[in-house]
């Protein structure tokens, strides 16, 4: 159990390695990138691009991404928040999962 938590923490602390890859994923550009690529922003793209505003956009803390250290900390923080949110959802799902008494749980 202890080994599992240590491994999980190490993986989370290593996530900023994912920041080192330069550029965007193909097909995941921001509107400014689209504009510089094809010269305009398709109408529907700009209309729907911000249906909701992410609280940690692109796994970063807004205003706290001036250098790599800040980006890395924002990235690790995002990993922790994301995992916590996932665990929370499954905790709720586990609660509402029906008829546990008929199961071997």
């Amino acid at each position: 159990m202890k080994k599992f938590y240590i491994a999980a923490i190490v993986i989370i602390l290593l996530t900023p390695l994912g920041l080192l890859a330069p550029g965007s994923a193909w097909g995941e550009w921001g509107l400014d990138e689209i504009k510089s690529m094809i010269g305009y922003v398709p109408e529907g793209m700009s209309r729907f691009s911000e249906v909701i505003k992410a609280i940690l956009p692109d796994y970063s803390i807004p205003g706290f991404d001036a250098n790599f250290l800040q980006q890395a900390l924002g990235y690790i923080f995002s990993a922790v928040v994301g995992i916590a949110a996932i665990v929370l959802i499954f905790a709720i799902l586990g609660r509402i999962m029906g008829k546990p008494q008929r199961k071997n749980g």
């Binding site: 920041l19 890859a21 994923a25 193909w26 097909g27 995941e28 729907f48 796994y59 996932i86 999962m97």
Partner: protein, 230 residues
Amino acid sequence: MHIPEGYLSPQTCAVMGAAMVPVLTVAAKKVNKSFDKRDVPAMAIGSAFAFTIMMFNVPIPGGTTSHAIGATLLAITLGPWAASISLTIALFIQALLFGDGGILALGANSFNIAFIAPFVGYGIYKLMLSLKLNKVISSAIGGYVGINAAALATAIELGLQPLLFHTANGTPLYFPYGLNVAIPAMMFAHLTVAGIVEAVITGLVVYYLQKVEEESILYKFSYRLRGDNR
């Protein structure tokens, strides 16, 4: 591979979302029937693992990036239906909190990453096992094919946009590149780099899970690998 908001027309988003409804309904029924409550933490760990592994961007020649998704690994360890739910929840959190993939595009992204990838990967894994390959090799091949199938589905959905949705003079309303650009670009990234990363991670974790001891929290991930279907 996460399609951002505004890249797909609302019509496409609706169709893909509608396609995911029966998948998730069947998945919920299957999981609720075959899983016991103790398996819920396993699904949570699988979901968190997929979420985290997708943060490790890898460079693609030509200046773009990609990442593994862990879909086939989840399908092998949790079963493909439970994997589908775990991956959908990871995608939901990515879209909601981090703007990684659109909320309206969640149906399409789930279809590609939480349905195509785990089911194709799992099918290939089973096929390789039937050809007498060992579990590590079979899972790696499954992972490679699974992520590439998802990349192809993503490329087709994107590449159809300018064909189907444009203004009267032909200007694209949404994603501007057609199939002839989208398919080669997506497949290059996933056939060369992301697919290999997915294969290596899948194979390594399967190798490790075959060895874990009973007292490990990860043991509950390995009963399928041991051939124990309970």
